[in-house]
């Protein structure tokens, strides 16, 4: 029996690529049906969502955040030791 949690399934690369391709198809469809400012807004939102998904999951942005907090803790602890 598959014991993967929903969050694990949602994070799998295959699901993510499916969502990205679907968003691209929606983007293409939107460009065929809408015009003007509404089209620009829709394209911007879809682009931001796609970029956000790639940055968060493919590029592990959360890992960077952990690195930054680690460095800050390192700086704080080192300065406390010096004092």
């Amino acid at each position: 029996m598959n014991t993967k949690s929903i969050s694990q399934i949602l994070r799998t690369e295959w699901f993510l690529i499916g969502v990205l391709l679907l968003l691209t198809a929606i983007e293409f469809g939107v460009a065929l049906t809408l015009t003007g400012a509404l089209l620009l807004l829709c394209l911007l939102i879809i682009g931001l969502v796609k970029a956000g998904l790639i940055i968060q999951y493919f590029m592990h942005f959360g890992q960077l955040w952990k690195n930054i907090t680690d460095i800050w803790w390192g700086i704080l602890l080192t300065s406390e030791e010096e004092e």
Binding site: E13, I17, A31, L40, I71
Partner: protein, 191 residues
Amino acid sequence: MSTHASEITTKLQSLTVNRLGLWLFLVSDASFFVALISSRFFVYGTDTPSEINQFLGLGLTVLLLLSSLTAYRAEAGAESGNRTKMTRNILLTIVIGVIFLVGVGFEWYIALGHEVTWPSKPYGTVLFTLTGVHATHVLTGLLALAVVYFLKRKSIIIGPENSWAVEGAVKYWHLVDVAWVFIYPTLYLVN
């Protein structure tokens, strides 16, 4: 602290610094793309010539998205110590990247056939500048991946402590993908 533990700590610290350095570079590189993309609206407004091949643009987008998947799987392979998965996916990414470059070349060939998309015309300037700069990034990404492939192909140690080279090249490749996510609607879909 034992020597081994000290070595691991030093490696982790250098990995942290490497990651931060790479992210700073990626952000600065992305800001260059933001400037170029915004220039499209100043130079040519929100029109798109009908001569632009929509399906070619869509195909190029799908290709780059798929290459992000293979790049991600290569990184996952490197971190889990799975050499076959890593090398196979790096090679796949390189192949898709080369096909993408051929597609961009075809796009240029089509663009040169219509007066409105000549490099001397406003839209042509935007098209050739954006796709040219992006293609240069793709090319450097391919070189980075090729170097990593030849370095790691016969590397003795593969695993989470020795996967920075793959991670760095793959993250750069994802930046190329993110840039195209915005270049595609800017050049092809805005109307």
